[in-house]
């Protein structure tokens, strides 16, 4: 199972759950399996510079984006609005 970690604002829209385990072969399919998939995918379809997705230590955008393959023990982190200014 792939681990997916959400930022707090998205977790608040998912019943306060921050960590999910999903069975998916790619980043896109893993995110589609989330209860907040509508919010995440709307932001990523552009793509939005304020939403980043990391697979372990790598920005998924540099590894195929939504098609980036994931496997068991991988951790996907959704990061929202890194900039503070």
């Amino acid at each position: 199972m792939v681990q997916v970690m959400l930022p707090s604002l998205l977790a608040s829209q998912a019943g306060e759950q921050r960590r999910f385990e999903v069975d998916a072969p790619t980043v896109g399919e893993a995110l589609q399996a989330l209860p907040v998939a509508d919010l995440v995918m709307r932001a990523l379809v552009k793509p939005d510079p304020y939403l980043l997705v990391y697979v372990n230590d790598t920005n998924a955008a540099e590894s195929g984006g939504m098609a980036c393959p994931v496997s068991e023990k991988d951790e996907i982190r959704v990061l929202s609005i890194l900039a503070g200014g």
Partner: protein, 357 residues
């Protein structure tokens, strides 16, 4: 048992709930709910008791959030599809209007860009109003500073088919067939910066309010003046000439018991968006706009305040408004303003309802 008033305060950082006794002098604050979301508008649907919020986020976009337990839990709806071939993208949700009393499952939603949605399942799913989407005057509409938003959705208390709405900047529209068609109702409403200042449509209506007790009376605070209609918008009388410091402003509050009473908060023109004369003042008419009197007892000075289009409300007992500087004001029995809260995030919307225990 009703013990006072409850205000739903939409802010740029979430929804706050303020409650006060019937004297409206001491307010308690809860919140924020929906933290992190810009709550453009939130209402209590008196037909069902549900709370409905139009919540937007710069990354995650527009949503409708519903709560049936007074804000403890929320259900999100993003099912607001647009036809693939319309070439438009939903940018923001602006105004939630519960439907007619005889249609308890129906809600309306005004949105950007110039869109009206209807839900017949209490907000779970939404359908765009095709007549407004494809309106023949849409080419004359232009976005205002905050976008091309549809707001001011109003439904006649006696006739659920008679509806009004406003688009900023597209003008005011009326439907006599429950939204199947929309007629522009902008006769005599000025756009003073255009070569032809009286076009059929394109006016920047900042606020449109139907008087709840007098059939046919509609008020609007426009980009270019304050107007009153006594014939369902067929014609408009401009009424900002006697006592107001200027024609520009956003909010409009009425008195359900007296159709000749209205309140506005003028701001210094579209280039500046703050109250004039170094003060925050409300102006009141008691004679349908023939004259206006300043009423600022209890309001801060000096002040350069701004009040957003949805940030005012009224009920049978009082009027209320919130400022971009994070204050909520309520008018008390002695015609004095009480600052019910300060240092909230910028206030985007205010709605009030009876508070029961």
């Amino acid at each position: 048992m009703v013990v006072g008033v409850r205000a739903l305060i939409g802010t740029s950082k979430g929804l706050f709930i303020l409650t006060a006794g019937t004297d409206r002098r001491r307010w308690d604050i809860e919140g924020p709910m929906l933290a992190g979301w810009s709550v453009f508008h939130a209402v209590v649907d008196h037909r069902t008791g549900e709370w409905i919020a139009a919540a937007n986020h710069m990354v995650f976009g527009p949503t409708i959030q519903r709560s049936s337990d007074e804000g403890r839990t929320w259900t999100r709806s993003t099912d607001m599809p647009l036809p693939a071939d319309c070439g438009l993208e939903l940018k923001a949700v602006w105004h939630v209007e519960p439907g007619h009393a005889t249609q308890p499952d129906t809600l309306f939603l005004g949105a950007d860009p110039g869109l009206l949605f209807r839900s017949d399942d209490r907000g779970a799913s939404w359908h765009v109003n095709e007549a407004l989407l494809h309106h023949r005057t849409r080419d004359t509409w232009n976005p205002s500073a905050g976008g091309l938003m549809c707001h001011g959705v109003q439904i006649d208390a006696a006739d659920p088919d008679l509806m009004f709405l406003a688009v900023s900047a597209g003008g005011a529209f009326r439907s006599t067939d429950a939204g199947a068609s929309w007629a522009p109702i902008n006769k005599g409403v000025e756009i003073d910066m255009l070569p032809n200042p009286y076009p059929e449509s394109g006016q920047c209506v900042h606020k449109l309010v139907l008087h709840p007790g007098r059939p046919g009376r509609v008020w609007q605070q426009n980009h270019c003046g304050v107007y009153r209609s006594d014939d369902h918008g067929d014609s408009w009388d401009r009424v900002d000439g006697n006592g107001l410091p200027g024609p520009f402003g956003f909010v409009l509050m009425l008195s359900p018991g007296d159709p000749d009473v209205a309140y506005v908060i003028p701001e210094r023109s579209y280039e500046y968006h703050y109250t004039p004369d170094r003060r925050l003042s409300v102006y009141k008419t008691t004679n349908a706009g023939k004259a206006w009197d300043r009423m600022d007892a209890g309001l801060p000075q000096p002040a350069w305040a701004a009040v957003m289009r949805e940030a005012s409300a009224f009920d049978t007992e009082s009027v209320y408004f919130g400022t971009q500087s994070g204050s909520l004001f309520a008018l008390t029995d002695d015609e004095r303003w009480c600052e019910g809260a300060r240092h909230l995030p910028p206030v985007l919307s205010v709605e009030v309802s009876p508070w029961s225990k």
